[in-house]
Amino acid sequence: MQKRKYLIKVRRSRKTYFLIYLMDFILISLWGYLYYNGHALNRIALIISAIFIFFTIKLTELHRFKDWWAITSNSFIQSTGIFDKNVREVDFSSISDLDLDQPFFKRILNYGDINVRLFLNETSIKIKNINKPREFIEELQRIMSLNRGQSLIGGEQRKRIKNA
């Protein structure tokens, strides 16, 4: 099977897990402070903290790895899940519009959600918490318009051949 060529492939931004990383940072800083100031470090508390930090980093990476979204030259692809994989491919011609959902906090950190709405009467595809969503929309629109332009040229050529 030929490998698909993705023009753009995105996953959730690590900025999504900012608060979790902040918790890890607080714990590491607290241990550093206590160690530097010569406090008796409790072994159980240290082990629990290490497990917490390990699992939060591991879980955020797994959560991030779970879903991805990609753009090929003529379609948009959404893949969700690790073990139970669900891949959905939508042709550009099915996409009606794109909208950006970026609350204040996400705007500051420059990440957000994009809703890909379809002509068909079904739920929209949500691209969750990707980095630089505005740039992604612009790029997707550019590729879509390029694709539409090529389709038009292709249609004209077919017409000419048929008339000849």
């Binding site: 010569g38 409790n42 508390a45 939060t56």
Partner: protein, 228 residues
């Protein structure tokens, strides 16, 4: 009425909130464990004091000149010997020391003290009881009283008893006895970390006898750094 999509959205949000809450409460639980096992166990300094032992500290006694020292914390008893014609403010009232030599004992003092070789520059905090020339003064309702100075307080001696200091950094001259090895210092910079022991000032000298975790001396012709 919710349609199917709304219900799915609600379930998903609810599920996600559960995960986030679980992580957040785990974090709070760990902070609690750290607080009760490391920080609260004997207070912020108590944890260190409890942890200082023969394996991770040095036994030190020193006799040096008096540097400018700033102390902040809780002290069970501080004993001052003060010369005449000086004042302090206790519970909003001015107290004068008229005798040639006066004794001032602060019990359960919490606050800040700054002193150098001649006088106490700053004494600001609260005390549960004060003894002036063996006369006890207490608040009627047993509340802690505010204590402060009007100006510098000249002293003959100060005895802090057993105290803990995170760090003591000064340029000094004198003798430091580190586990039997006597080191003489002469206008050298001394940095001592995690000190716990008897701390007193008399006869224009600072005396310390206790345990320390690290010592570094930097002078013109010497550089010594010892830590455990």
């Amino acid at each position: 009425m919710h349609n199917r999509e709304d219900n799915l959205y609600y379930k998903k949000r609810h599920h996600l909130f559960g995960k986030k809450s679980l992580i957040f409460f785990s974090f709070l639980f760990i902070l609690g464990v750290i607080f009760f096992t490391t920080i609260y166990d004997g207070g912020l300094t108590g944890g260190v004091v409890k942890n200082l032992n023969a394996n991770n500290s040095f036994s030190v006694s020193s006799e040096t000149n008096i540097p400018n020292v700033n102390l902040q914390g809780d002290y069970s008893e501080i004993v001052f010997e003060i010369s005449a014609n000086q004042n302090l403010i206790l519970g909003g009232k001015k107290i004068s020391f008229d005798k040639t030599s006066n004794s001032l004992v602060l019990k359960d003092f919490s606050g800040e003290i700054n002193f150098d070789q001649s006088s106490v520059k700053l004494l600001e905090g609260k005390v549960s009881e004060v003894h002036i020339n063996d006369v006890p003064i207490k608040d009627e309702k047993n509340n802690k009283m505010k204590i402060s100075l009007t100006s510098g307080l000249r002293y003959d001696s100060i005895n802090f008893g057993e105290i803990y200091l995170d760090e003591l950094n000064f340029v000094g001259s004198g003798k430091i006895n580190l586990g039997g090895d006597i080191m003489k210092i002469n206008h050298d910079e001394v940095l001592i970390k995690n000190l716990f022991g008897e701390f007193s000032i008399k006869e224009n000298k600072l005396f310390f006898d206790g345990l320390i975790r690290s010592l570094s001396i930097t002078g013109k012709d010497k550089k010594i750094s010892i830590s455990k």
